[in-house]
């Protein structure tokens, strides 16, 4: 079977003060190797929750998550994550941030530095190695976060609305760069967004999530060759479909993707 990542009927219920809160309801999903899969859904539908489960930061209430044939039980550097909010360590320079995972691994100084520099260059931040995060713009911070996630050479990259807090133009540039990195490093990418435009521009496939409790209601193959033109007719057609799906009331049944 050709599975990189598989989610089998994964649910997540949070215990809150007002009682149990169902955040995810029966997510079944398969991601193929080298695939760029976008998950799109309205705010609060459980996208972050889903990625945190795959990352191993939270445990599913039921169901299983399988990566490369092994069940996910906790966080590990074989799943790189780029968080929705800024997550760079403010006390470390760009270089030291990217080196973090390698340091934990116990890699030697020189090898570590070389590898970190390679990824810093890949995200286009050569020359900023010794800057502290406060000296960087929002877009640059997310680039460093991407480099940091890539440096441990994970099998899969989990991205949680990484470009959500940058302006539209920077966002477009970052998207193009991400595609370039993806092409070069041949990673599997699970990318969460609530932007229809972003999903259609980036993904091989887009899975649509319903409002809370989140489940997948539809999956679209975006079979437009790259490089895509943001304003082309095909792109617009997909956009329209997705917008329609997102505006649907919660009536559709959950599906496996």
């Amino acid at each position: 079977m050709n599975h990189k990542l598989e989610l089998r009927n994964v649910t997540k219920t949070f215990n809150t003060e007002e009682g149990e809160m169902e955040a995810l309801e029966g997510i079944s999903l398969v991601v193929k190797p080298n695939e760029f899969l976008c998950i799109i859904g309205p705010s609060g539908c459980g996208k972050t929750t889903l990625l945190r489960l795959v990352a191993g930061l939270d445990q599913p209430s039921s169901g299983e998550i399988i990566l490369d044939g092994k069940e996910v039980i906790g966080p590990s550097p074989d799943r790189g994550m780029v968080f929705q909010e800024f997550s760079l360590f403010p006390w470390r320079t760009v270089l030291k941030n990217v080196e973090f995972g390698l340091e934990i691994k116990g890699m030697k100084d020189k090898a570590r530095r070389e590898l970190a520099e390679k990824y810093i260059e890949l995200v286009g931040l050569k020359g900023f190695e010794n800057c502290y995060p406060y000296e960087l713009s929002g877009g640059m911070k997310q680039r460093v976060a991407i480099a940091r996630a890539l440096a441990t050479e994970p099998a899969i990259l989990l991205m949680d609305e990484p470009f959500g807090s940058v302006d539209a133009q920077t966002r477009n540039i970052l998207q193009e760069e991400l595609l370039e990195i993806w092409k070069r490093t041949k990673k599997t990418v699970l990318f969460v967004t609530h932007s229809v435009d972003e999903a259609v521009y980036l993904a091989d496939r887009v899975a649509v999530m319903s409002a809370r409790p989140g489940c997948l209601i539809k999956c679209l193959d975006i079979d437009i060759p790259r490089p895509r033109k943001r304003t082309s007719v095909e792109v617009n057609e997909f956009r329209e479909q997705l917008l329609m799906l997102l505006s649907l009331e919660r009536s559709k049944a959950c599906i496996s993707v």
Binding site: S87, K105, Y134
Partner: protein
């Protein structure tokens, strides 16, 4: 252009400051020599200046001894304060068990410990050091605790996905560096309190007949050598200022450079 403006500003500030100090000294001199006219009520700056000259040798010894007491207390206080603060910040159980006792101990003025310092540690350098320790430990402990408690969860999560397992490696790589500014601020406050404690403990003779505080009280005050007493007061103040500046330079400007973007300095 901006730099030029900054320099100009600094220059003017320097001048204004000099004028400020000179004015105070001149008024002090005038009041002392034309209104008060009694050295033991208010020694004049001129007399204090000569007092400095006469005590120039003994003052060096006293400075050395007082700094020794201060160093002992601050060293132990920092080590114990950070350790306890970290334990309380890291483990709920320790926190709950120790919080009430810490609150009570903290409320006791450090100077009230002088009798026990003398009884337990005799008239050694350690007994004045102990009083400094009591004065310095609480701000350090509480700040370390606060730092540990306020680590953003996002940094912990980020470290976990990058391979940090629970426990020591998380503390070492995330919690401790995150808390460093808190610990530094606590230490700075602790240093201020500790220096006051040195002088007080020495005044009571906690470490025998030595130190700036001892001489100030048991020699100069007892013999009404107020000019020398003022000289000592000035030195005590200057040392506190110097210690604070050195600390700020070494720690805040070097080690904590990364914080520039987070706080208005």
């Amino acid at each position: 252009m901006k730099e030029k403006k900054g320099l100009h500003f600094l220059k003017r500030r320097g001048i204004i400051e000099t004028i400020g100090i000179s004015t105070v000294v001149i008024i002090w001199q005038l009041v002392a020599s034309f209104i008060v006219k009694k050295t033991y009520l208010l020694p004049s700056p001129y007399e204090v200046f000569f007092a400095f000259y006469t005590v120039r040798e003994v003052i060096l010894v006293d400075i050395y001894i007082s700094l020794l007491h201060f160093g002992i207390g601050l060293g132990v206080g920092t080590a114990v304060g950070i350790t306890l603060g970290a334990l309380m910040g890291g483990f709920k159980l320790v926190d709950r068990a120790m919080d009430p006792i810490m609150e009570i101990l903290r409320a006791i003025p450090p100077i009230a410990w002088i009798p026990f310092a003398i009884i337990w540690l005799k008239l050694t350098h350690y007994s004045a050091g102990f009083v400094v320790f009591v004065g310095a430990i609480f701000p350090i402990l509480i700040n370390t605790y606060t730092g540990f408690k306020s680590v953003d969860k996002i940094y912990i999560d980020a470290a976990k996905v990058l391979g940090c397992k629970k426990g020591m490696s998380l503390i070492k790589s995330v919690v401790l560096p995150y808390s460093l500014p808190y610990i530094a601020a606590g230490t700075r406050i602790g240093m201020g309190i500790g220096w006051m404690c040195v002088v007080a403990a020495e005044m009571f003779g906690a470490s025998g007949r030595v130190g700036l505080g001892w001489r100030l009280w048991n020699r100069f005050y007892a013999l009404h050598m107020m000019d020398k007493l003022v000289a000592y007061m000035i030195i005590i103040g200057l040392i506190a200022l110097l210690l604070d500046r050195i600390f700020r330079y070494l720690v805040e400007e070097r080690t904590l450079k990364w914080r520039k973007g987070m706080v208005a300095v």
